[in-house]
Symmetry: C3
Subunit: 158 residues, 3 copies
């Protein structure tokens, strides 16, 4: 089987714990936290809480040639209570800007049925009540994204 990758190693550093308040945009809040704290390399350790609305991006088709663009994506909006089940992702430097890249999963109920949705985190996910987030800074790793010839996008360690 094929195995191809780029890897770097370092260690764990500072951990920032934040409670986001009602009305906050989840992605904007994460971006502001890493900006204010000066985090240029990090990992999202945990995220739980409640949203009142969400907007998610998913990939619906694969192009014959890279890059993947908006032609290949579906953007969907949800307006209802949504439990945040998980937030996964990291903090890097893309074009010298701090970038939070995160995917999340969310649950909601209708009658006696639970549905779970998820996708790439984009603006439009609004906290209702609270969300508890943890980000750990990475030490000794430069999480820099450069232009990758293969995928025609900015990628880690390219």
């Amino acid at each position: 089987m094929v195995v191809r990758y780029e890897a770097r190693e370092g260690g764990g550093g500072r951990i920032v714990v934040a409670r986001l308040k009602s009305g906050s945009d989840l992605l904007e809040a994460l971006q502001e936290i890493v900006s204010r704290e000066g985090i240029e390399a990090g990992v999202i350790l945990s995220g739980v809480g409640l949203l009142g609305e969400a907007r998610l991006r998913n990939c619906k088709s694969l192009p014959d040639e890279f890059p993947i663009t908006d032609v290949n994506r579906t953007y969907l909006s949800f307006r209802r209570p949504l439990e945040i089940l998980s937030i996964s992702g990291n903090v890097s430097l893309a074009d010298d800007e701090q970038l939070v890249h995160a995917h999340l999963s969310l649950s909601y109920v209708e009658g006696d049925e639970i549905t779970v949705i998820g996708g790439h985190l984009i603006p439009g996910c609004t906290v209702h009540g609270f969300a508890e987030i943890m980000i750990m800074e990475l030490e000794g790793i430069k999480m820099r994204k450069g232009f990758d010839e293969e995928t025609k996008t900015l990628q880690l360690f390219a």
Copy 2:
């Protein structure tokens, strides 16, 4: 866009790895571990395994005024094999008691179809075979929950 939050920073400490055994209640086990180990501030790094039954809480409606109460929640029970896909959450001190706050996602199959469910972890999730859990203690952060006037509930750093 709105961004409002409270944040604290510290570092990572001890990591406890536990294998829960058959019949154990998942939340009760997590509570007993943090109690026995004296963890008052922590993050759940990982959780995988299998449940034989589950009970989950989800938010079904948002009240005109806080707090969110049981009128706004749905409690659902499941009796079947359920893979634990993720457990997210943290350990704090609420009214001087160690509190595990966690959300989880679970999968099951019927015929050739996989369904994923999730929600807030409550008592009634029973381990079948095993579950492997990791909790990291936080150093230099007081994860204290106090009464928050806005949400009318106990919240981190309120």
Copy 3:
């Protein structure tokens, strides 16, 4: 309620960040990374990215007596774009071999509907474009799996 477990404690060590490239088998790549880096005890901190196909294992029934075997499992394959929402799991030593044990959740879209699937990570999950993975080594904990009389399988700290 029943609470039974085995636990060990240690601390966090090295963190390896890897960007897996197109065509890579997700599990094989994780196995090769821990092999090449000599990681015998670890936790998967994060995983996000995109798959072009997936194969997942779920438990469909519980046997009257342990062990759980393939009679109790369903293997399902998917050939479409799948966002990696989360990867949870750990690295241990089973029969002196480094073992990555992971569960994952994935999302896909059809029209305006998002579906989330998940299960135990097995070979057959192929990265498309990229996947960003983080593994933290554990220090001071021997993550050794031995034969467990109760479940009739290899288990942590048995």
